[in-house]
């Protein structure tokens, strides 16, 4: 009886996403998986990556990342899978397209505007 109980416990422990917190045996694959986890957003505690979060759902997502990378998927493909479910919000490194391009271009645009203003001001002073 006691044995049956401990066996059940073991089964329960083993059942909850075994790869959530177990590194992959292949160090290179584990490094790929870790890098991807760092840039995926935990959807429960949204300002943490799934690598940092203790939420159960982050564990489930880490397990998916490790499983798919162990199965030979490229990290981009795993990321694409999650983006196809949750959109770009799930990644901390959104693509530089669409409305996002404004964020990347804004500093350059302001730099150019500032340089133009300065140039005009100095030219007028010199004249």
């Amino acid at each position: 009886m006691k044995r049956a109980v401990s066996f059940t416990c073991l089964f329960l422990l083993a059942a909850a996403a075994p790869l959530a917190d177990t590194p992959l045996p292949d160090a290179a694959a584990e490094a790929d998986a870790r890098a991807l986890m760092e840039e995926l957003r935990c959807l429960v505690c949204q300002h943490q990556s799934i690598a940092d979060s203790d939420a159960d759902m982050a564990g489930d997502m880490r397990a998916i990342v490790r499983e798919r990378i162990a199965a030979g998927d490229r990290p981009e493909k795993v990321k694409a899978y999650l983006v196809s479910r949750y959109g770009d919000f799930v990644t901390f490194d959104p693509p530089k397209t669409g409305a996002n391009i404004v964020l990347w271009a804004a500093p350059l645009i302001f730099l150019v505007l500032g340089a133009l203003a300065a140039w005009r001001l100095f030219r007028r002073r010199a004249a």
Partner: protein, 176 residues
Amino acid sequence: MKRAALLVPLLMFAAFVALAVFGLGRPNQRTIESKMVGQPVPDFELAGFDALHPGLQTTDLKQGTVTLVNVFASWCIPCRVEAPQLKALADKGIVVHAVAVRDTPAALRAFLDEHGDPFRRIGMDIEGKAMIALGASGVPETFLVDESGVIRRQYIGEIRPAQVAEVLRDIDEVRK
């Protein structure tokens, strides 16, 4: 003209402050809509809960009936609040299936005994894989699946009493 030009930096600063105030006022937790709405149900296959509730897999949602798929868990408090509404929908003849996330048979049994059991099928999603495949980011969430197995709507959070009529209307619309 020159006077007006002097005002430009001030206006830009005011715009920045307005943006910051607006941004700070927004909740910093946002609800994430599934990108699977409008898509066929993804591939998954979940083991069943008991003899009365067989497992749930993709083909079960392509049987020519409109179905609700309730992603829930016995450990989830809002799911208890939602239970009577699901029961009301099931009583109206709506087929309600469940994806039980990270649950144990004993806890699930207790939950169904206490809060009622509107479910035809219950898939045990021990590792949250089906939840993620559906694009759900928590529990409870409910997906409305049409006759051909396309996800047509997602209800995030518990379905409240006032929402039951809305869900029934959505189902009617999908049936057309």
